[in-house]
Amino acid sequence: MKYLIATLVVVIGIIAIGATSYISAFNTGNRLENQIVATYEDNQNVLAQYGNRIAEAAQIPAMQRDDLAAVVTAALDARYGEEGSQAMFQFIQEQNPTIDSTVYTQLQRMIEAGRIDFASAQTRLIDQKRVYETALGSFWGGTWMRIAGYPSIDLDEYNIVVNARTVEAFETGQEEAIQLR
């Protein structure tokens, strides 16, 4: 009888630890995945907001704002790098030739701030993926997370925006000098 009780206590203890580990792993996986998805969407939001802010600051007519948003997005998401900034300023000057130097300076600051904010948002996404992958790779917690069905999202779908020149530089191990003109 004593052995039966002893075995029961040990089994209940093991089940309790297993259940605690499972629930903890499930909640951790759920929380981290939702954060990654939310941050990914927030990155898109950061890009969109800057288009609007710059259009307002540059006093661009309402009809041309969608066109500007596309140019701003291209400049901010680093797809065109410095050339993107030049294209944006050219577009702004075409739409608003009377733009004064104060507004122009303010726009330059907004673009730089936008780049920093976007870079920071992208770093947060990378950091969240790092934390999630570290959790998945840990011995105890990671095992229970896999048992709980994580990862349930494809992490490759939540990558940061990288320009083609950077991808090429990493693939070839060589970087060409930037052509400003």
């Binding site: 981290l32 969240q128 105890w140």
Partner: protein, 369 residues
């Protein structure tokens, strides 16, 4: 994460109790098994909870202004009383008999007298000097026991004076050393600069000079001005710290690591100076909008000289227009990336290897329940 690490340590605990009960046939009841499991689990969980808190607990400056100067005068109890007053502090004490405690040993009864402390206030009234502010109240120490004379420190305070205090908050970035938001520089490269702290009730030196000669009077004056600036921008939640250095442009990065990535509301403006000229400017904050950093940097660089009044104006305008206090919730994900400190592991191991066997021994030898 606390639960995760606690569970890892509870597994060997269960194994040990199982071995002790089933294979070593130690003599303790199932009630004692339950107590042992519960007590040790709570202790281990507590160790990791305290360890986690110590990793993320931080203090940030909150700024405000003096709103009211309030001397408060209250009457004190007269005669001897069993209780102390919640306001008056100056009293005499005495011990008076308060019944007896009697015990019977080997059929012999013996009694001893109990005593209690009574209080008699010296003055009919006492006066205290309070400074009410937008962040909290302060009490200026009295210069005489009763408080009849107004303390000089109280007299010099004016309504509208800047005040600051440090409040505790959870800083996930501080605890997550592996985070991409933390610098990864060797410890011996970090500048030995202490983060500002509160002095003289509600003041703090937030103009810091490192490795360069600087006029002492201007330093003090600028500190006072930054205190006023910080109270002026208090509604944004920001806290401005100025650092003047003769070091190179890598200094701000080193300082950021030395100060554990800065507080969530700090705007740290570092200026490389050469005489009266500003060579470079670096502005770091966790503001949701980086325009505040760019505006301050460009404004000071355009100015070019160490004009404290003009620099203060640039900072104030930029913070008021651009600073957006970021929520620490954005970094809560880092809580899953903060391992417990080494001392927590050591304490947990000590608990398992020493305290648990001792409890087992006691339960084996004595019948507790």
């Amino acid at each position: 994460m606390t639960l995760y690490y606690a569970v890892l340590f509870i597994i060997p605990l269960i194994m040990w109790i199982g071995i002790a009960k089933l294979f070593l046939h130690l003599n303790f009841s199932w009630g004692e098994v339950a107590i042992q499991l519960a007590v040790t689990s709570i202790v281990i969980f507590g160790i990791f909870a305290v360890g986690s808190h110590s990793q993320t607990s931080d203090h940030m400056f909150v700024n405000g202004v003096v709103t009211k100067l309030e001397p408060v005068k209250k009457s004190c109890k007269s005669g001897w009383s069993d209780y102390t007053d919640d306001f008056c502090t100056e009293y005499r004490t005495r011990s008076v008999p308060d019944g007896q405690t009697c015990t019977t040993t080997n059929g012999k009864r013996s009694c001893s007298t109990n005593y209690k402390t009574q209080y008699n206030y010296i003055y009919y009234w006492e006066q205290k000097y309070f400074v009410r502010t937008t962040i909290q109240s302060y009490q200026v120490p009295r210069v005489d026991a009763q408080g009849t004379q107004t303390p000089p420190r109280f007299s010099e305070i004016e309504i509208g004076d800047p005040v600051t205090m440090q409040v505790s908050y959870t800083n996930y970035i501080r605890g997550a050393s592996s985070s991409l938001f933390n610098e990864q520089l060797p410890a011996d490269e970090l500048p030995p600069l202490a983060y500002p702290s509160v002095r003289d009730m509600y003041k703090a030196n937030r103009v810091i000079v490192s490795g360069v000669a600087f006029d002492g009077n201007l330093h003090k004056e600028w500190n006072d001005q930054i205190a006023v600036l910080n109270s002026s921008i208090s509604k944004t939640g920001a806290n401005v710290i100025l650092v003047l250095t003769g070091d190179d442009r890598k200094f701000p990065e080193k300082l950021a690591q030395a100060w554990e990535a800065h507080n969530i509301n700090d705007v740290v403006v570092t200026m490389g100076i050469n005489g009266d000229d500003v060579s470079w400017v670096d502005v770091r904050s966790w503001s949701s909008n980086s325009i505040v950093e760019i505006s301050i940097r460009d404004g000071i660089l355009n100015l070019g000289t160490l004009d404290n009044v003009a620099i203060n104006d640039i900072i104030q305008e930029s913070v008021m227009n651009g600073f957006e206090l970021q929520s620490m919730e954005n970094f809560e994900y880092l809580a899953d990336d903060i391992p417990p400190p080494t001392w927590a592991y050591i304490l947990a191991i000590i608990t398992l290897l020493i305290i648990t066997p001792i409890i087992t021994y006691v339960f084996n030898k004595y019948e507790v329940i």
